[in-house]
């Protein structure tokens, strides 16, 4: 059984302008100890997905259907109180801006102690020792002194480290990181990613990393989910998605990534247009108004039929009407400029088997 099983998740917000279909039928799984990267532009539903998993979108104007099973327990149908108990203990989250995510009036230590003591009946002193230990573990120098500092006395990177310490205080099985490095200096970004990877091995947590930065995903994710307009456009291992992407949207994302190693003939190629309104999602494939290839599909299927998320190779699925032949033909033309050269990507691609192998490895401790 996977640690996290999301099945046909739909999140809708009622607004004055109409119903926003922020997440529309999303299905994915995450094994223990693995890392899933969710990629997409702003407004593609990636943050909403993570907040829905955490149960932080339970308002009266929000409608959530489908199932989100964490260790076999459905969170969508669970009571608010049950989900609250699981938040912080079995699943934790770190956010984009670590300054605004920490309370300015309480010391970093107080905030970690608070997080630990909600779920563990221990004295303040024991929790404080735990907080100092965690701060040391995430690389804060002199943790026994800095524990009494306020967030504004920390640098950006240290704040995010403190957030990570807080999130991991109760040893959660699932850690969701929503754009954890976006607000940080480039030099610090790599350190934070390394830290997440290190701690993931140490704590054995599964990680969902949400980002629009494909470099981040390539560096640490085993599995990749590309989202567009609240739906999955493509899903597979990092090797699949980066080496032989099957969806025009993924091609666009890869093509708009700056690269240093290839001399480009012309400029970066941004994807034309903007993400659609989630109130009026285009009929058919939601990406078709921005896609360059609807003409390659017989009939007018891109405008009329919603493409299903189908296997194009074992474990690699994409939601596109292009035939396998067409797809390979187009990608072969794009690949020289669009294919990423990122360190950390597996060179060989016997992914399904190696994935299974690592799962048991991580589960052992």
């Amino acid at each position: 059984m996977a640690l996290l099983e999301v099945t046909d998740l739909r999140v809708r917000f009622k607004t004055d302008d109409g119903i926003v279909k922020a997440v529309d039928g999303l299905t994915f799984q995450l094994e223990r100890g693995r890392t899933l990267g969710i990629v997409g532009e702003s407004g593609s539903g990636k943050s909403v997905t993570s907040l829905a998993i955490m149960g932080l979108h339970r308002g009266k104007d929000t409608e959530i259907t489908g199932t989100v099973k964490l260790e076999g327990e459905d969170l969508v149908s669970a009571s608010d109180e049950r989900v609250r108990q699981l938040r912080g203990s079995k699943m934790a989250m770190i956010f984009q801006d670590p300054l605004s995510s920490l309370h300015p009036y309480y010391t970093v230590g107080t905030q970690i102690i608070e997080a630990y003591r909600v779920h563990n009946k221990v004295s303040k002193q024991v929790a404080r020792t735990r907080a100092i230990e965690l701060l040391g573990r995430v690389g804060i120098p002199q943790p026994n002194v800095r524990v009494d500092d306020y967030p504004h006395q920390f640098s950006g990177g240290m704040r995010q480290r403190a957030m990570i310490a807080m999130a991991l205080s109760c040893d959660p099985g699932l850690l969701i990181a929503d754009e954890p490095t976006t607000a940080l200096d480039v030099t610090v970004q790599a350190q934070i990613l390394d830290l997440i990877v290190d701690l993931q091995h140490e704590f054995g947590s599964a990680v969902i990393i949400i980002t629009h930065d494909l470099g981040v995903v390539a560096e640490i994710a085993d599995q990749v989910l590309v989202m567009y307009a609240g739906r999955a456009a493509e899903a597979g291992t990092a090797g699949h998605v980066f080496r032989e992407p099957g969806h025009p949207y993924t091609w666009g994302l890869l093509g708009s990534m700056p690269r240093l190693d290839v001399e480009r003939v012309d400029r970066l190629r941004p994807i034309p247009g903007t993400p659609p309104s989630l109130i009026n999602v285009p009929p058919g494939c939601p990406f078709h108004p921005r896609c360059a290839y609807p003409a390659q599909v017989p009939g007018d299927r891109c405008r009329t039929d919603v493409p299903a998320l189908l296997d194009i190779s074992p474990g690699h699925r994409t939601a596109c009407h292009l035939t396998a032949g067409k797809r390979q033909e187009i990608w072969a033309q794009l690949a020289p400029e669009a294919a990423p050269q990122v360190p950390g990507l597996p060179q060989e691609q016997d992914d399904t088997e190696s994935t299974a192998a690592t799962v048991t490895e991580v589960e052992a401790p």
């Binding site: 108990q85 912080g88 605004s100 010391t107 608070e114 909600v118 779920h119 504004h152 006395q153």
Partner: protein, 336 residues
């Protein structure tokens, strides 16, 4: 932190000196600029149809023929160290803080203000507790149930509260609860030392009337502040930690939303301590507000100057306390 307090204290003293200069200027410099001489000024300090000798004696007693800086110095040193007035045959000592003698009663101004103070303090503090608790509670509940019937109703009442003047709500409450249904009959000032129960009973109507106005204001402020803080990222973090909603609202939301309220509270309380003019007149309470009105009606310069300086003192002190409290509440201010 200590340097912060000392710096704030020095600023407060400086501010008070500036206020005293302005007040002094209004009553002594401006008449001079308008062409009045010392003799004419002295005329105002003696009774009707004074003799020339009496006026000259007053002129000498008050030192009105001295240069303005010297006069200001006497004025200031009188407040700080007391003053000696030469009546001719004898010397009268006016102990500090000496604001001079009232025209009408010929009594020193300061003891009169001191006797009026308990009334104003009783009124202001009692009302402040009511409006702070009531306003903040209603504001928080309204924010949490935004758009509910409770929210709409309380905000409508709050709008009425902000809009209706004290003399209107005060008179209505007197009419209803003192005359029609005499729950609080004979509203008049009773010192707390002579009869605490009666003191409290007689102050209920003024407290509620005054608190209603401010509670309305504070409810709206708290509601707006809570709506803003509850959308902050750190509230989402608090929820993500799995904290109970109560803890999220009180420890994380309200704590942050209260800080600006605190500032305004200090200012409002300081302002009221200088005299709740409308409330005191409406309920005939002999506090500093009444004192001010009488002083102005009688054109009693020493009394007016005294009460202006006292009111300024309360505001400056309240402001200083708020600043220091702010540093205690918000750690970011401390290091700045």
């Amino acid at each position: 932190m200590i340097t912060f307090i000392i710096r704030r204290l020095l600023t407060a003293i400086f501010l008070l000196i500036v206020v005293s200069m302005i007040t002094f200027g209004i009553f002594f410099l401006i008449p001079r600029l308008a062409g009045q001489n010392a003799y004419e000024l002295a005329t105002q300090y003696v009774g009707r149809n004074p003799t020339r000798a009496a006026i000259l004696q007053m002129e000498a007693k008050l030192g009105l023929n001295e240069s303005l800086p010297v006069q200001y110095w006497h004025f200031l040193s009188g407040i700080v160290a007391g003053a000696h007035y030469n009546d001719g045959p004898s010397v009268t000592y006016c102990p500090p803080p000496c604001f001079g003698y009232s025209f009408r009663s010929q009594q020193p101004v300061w003891p009169q203000m001191v006797s009026a103070m308990p009334v104003t303090v009783s009124l202001a503090i009692g009302a402040a507790i009511l409006w702070l608790l009531g306003g903040v509670a209603i504001g928080v509940l309204s924010a949490l149930r935004r758009g509910s019937i409770f929210d709409r109703f309380s905000m409508a009442v709050a709008l009425a509260g902000v809009s209706l003047p004290i003399f209107f709500t005060g008179l209505i409450s007197l009419e209803l609860f003192s005359y029609k249904w005499p729950i609080f009959p004979n509203v008049q000032w009773v010192p707390i030392t002579s009869n605490p129960a009666l003191w409290a009973r007689n102050l209920v109507l003024p407290w509620v009337t005054l608190a209603f106005l401010y509670a309305a204001l504070y409810a709206r402020l708290t509601r707006a502040g809570m709506l803003e803080t509850m959308n902050e990222d750190y509230i989402r973090t608090a929820r993500a930690k799995g904290l109970r909603e109560r803890t999220v609202v009180v420890r994380h939301g309200l704590r942050a939303a209260l800080t600006p309220i605190l500032t305004i509270f200090g200012m409002d309380l300081g302002l009221l301590l200088g005299g709740a003019v409308l409330t005191e007149s409406t309920f005939s309470l002999p506090g500093l507000g009444q004192f001010t009105i009488l002083a102005i009606q009688n054109q009693d310069f020493p009394e007016i100057m005294g009460v202006v300086l006292l009111a300024a003192f309360f505001i400056v002190v309240a402001n200083m306390l708020v600043d220091i409290l702010y540093a205690v509440v918000d750690p970011r201010v401390r290091t700045a």
